[in-house]
Amino acid sequence: MKKRFNRRDFLKLTIAGLTATTLPGCSKNADWQDLFRRRFQELTPDEIKGFLERLEERYSKQYGVKIHIKATPPVEGVVFGYALDLSRCIGCRRCVYACVRENNPSRDIEIQWIRVLRLKKGEFDLEKAEHYYSPELVPEDEYFYMPVQCQQCENPPCVKVCPVKATWKEPDGIVVIDYNWCIGCRTCMAACPYRARKFNWNDPVIPKEELNPETHYLGNRPRMKGVVEKCTFCIQRTREGRYPACVEVCPVGARKFGNLLDPESEIRYVLENFRVYRLKEDLKTEPKFFYFFSIGWG
């Protein structure tokens, strides 16, 4: 009988061939165990440690700088809140660039996590807001300014739509992204009503000397092509008790940050003493980012 090369043999050979060619390739580029790891939240502390070490090594090779990656867990009894005083903000964009220096976004194609909107005084029409303004001096007499960044919603639509659960809300209220888990489908960007999420269209371009080597796994570590990123309330700073970079740089002290569960915190003082509002409140996203006018609300 003539031996036939049947379908079963064909499949067997194909699979064997594919495995043989891909396996060595994988172990060269990405570590074998990282490719088949579980979700970040399910990893044990030991697994995280090893994982981060391999990542650090890979980053150091890529950028030529020693990069330190932490995975500081959330602090018990802390939920972060943010308040922004619109009657103080002068639209100088110092916060935008402090954020860029801290959080390692791509410089080219440019990604910025804070967008400062310029609105006409007397109106509140977000559709007429302009964020490319560049006058000689700010503030301009006829405008006020409203910086918008990730609002860290209690009910985040971006988390709801993610098909692979690459983004989630941490117990301290920060919505984070696992860049190694993100498939770059950009559904979360469509779902976000605040345009807070940005997409890496190319491999991020960050000059070596501007790279911030102190990073957090879920925060400011360098990203890669095809993943989404956004503001994390400077998770690498705030989980260690420090203020976010934008709060520290603001020349007029318009930005307030603190623990919503601590009655003594600045953020609670703002909530209790000023009339605060949240952006697009009607969408029921429940942001933990509050806007207020400290002057002239009666």
């Binding site: 602090v75 802390v78 002068i90 639209g91 100088c92 964009r93 110092r94 935008v96 660039y97 080219d108 194609i109 440019e110 910025q112 967008r115 964020h131 490319y132 303004y133 560049s134 006058p135 000689e136 001096l137 700010v138 503030p139 705030t238 008790g241 420090r242 203020y243 709060v247 520290e248 603001c250 020349p251 007029v252 002290g253 307030k256 940050f257 603190g258 623990n259 915190s265 600045e266 003082y269 703002v270 003493n273 400290s294």
Partner: protein
């Protein structure tokens, strides 16, 4: 004997705790930034000691760079805030002399609601740690007391338009 020593330590701890509650204000001061103007380094009295105090309200020949009319439309003049008999000090309305590092008490006499917000950390800026040592900034670190309104500043550059990134 040993028991007595323990209770002695306990009492000391209670006293320290009590004092730290009473002098919470003093603790805040420790974390403050240095005053912009240092009367020790630049003592006013090195000139003013030999001068007669003239309490007549007038424009000065010296110090002409200070345009005090910018603060509250010319309601004030020098000796409302500077102590007439010791120029190294500031003077509160009740006559108490204070150093330049306590300037917030002087400003707070008129700007009460802002003083209240500042003490809570809401007016002005705090840096450092939201959980831990917060660094205060004094009124005069940001505002020129003789002309307190902020100047306009040059904004940082606007973000690139998408068209600029397509080369």
């Amino acid at each position: 004997m040993k028991k007595g020593r323990n209770s002695f330590y306990l009492i000391i701890i209670f006293v320290i705790a009590y004092l730290s509650i009473c002098y919470a204000d003093e603790i805040i001061k420790l974390a403050q930034m240095p005053a912009v103007f240092d009367s020790e380094f630049y003592p006013c009295m090195s000139c003013h000691a030999g001068m007669e105090v003239n309490t007549n309200r007038r424009y000065l020949q010296f110090h002409e760079e200070i345009d005090i009319d910018q603060h509250a439309d010319g309601v004030f003049w020098c000796l409302d805030c500077h102590a007439p008999d010791n120029r190294n000090k500031l003077r509160l309305i009740n006559g108490e002399h204070i150093g330049f590092t306590e300037v917030h008490r002087l400003c707070g006499q008129c700007h009460g609601s802002i003083y209240r917000d500042w003490r809570a950390g809401v007016h002005g800026k705090r840096t450092g740690y939201w959980k831990g040592t917060k660094k205060y900034v004094l009124c005069t670190n940001c505002h020129n007391p003789h002309n307190p309104r902020f100047r306009k500043i040059k904004p940082e550059r606007s973000p690139m338009k998408p068209i600029q990134t397509l080369r």
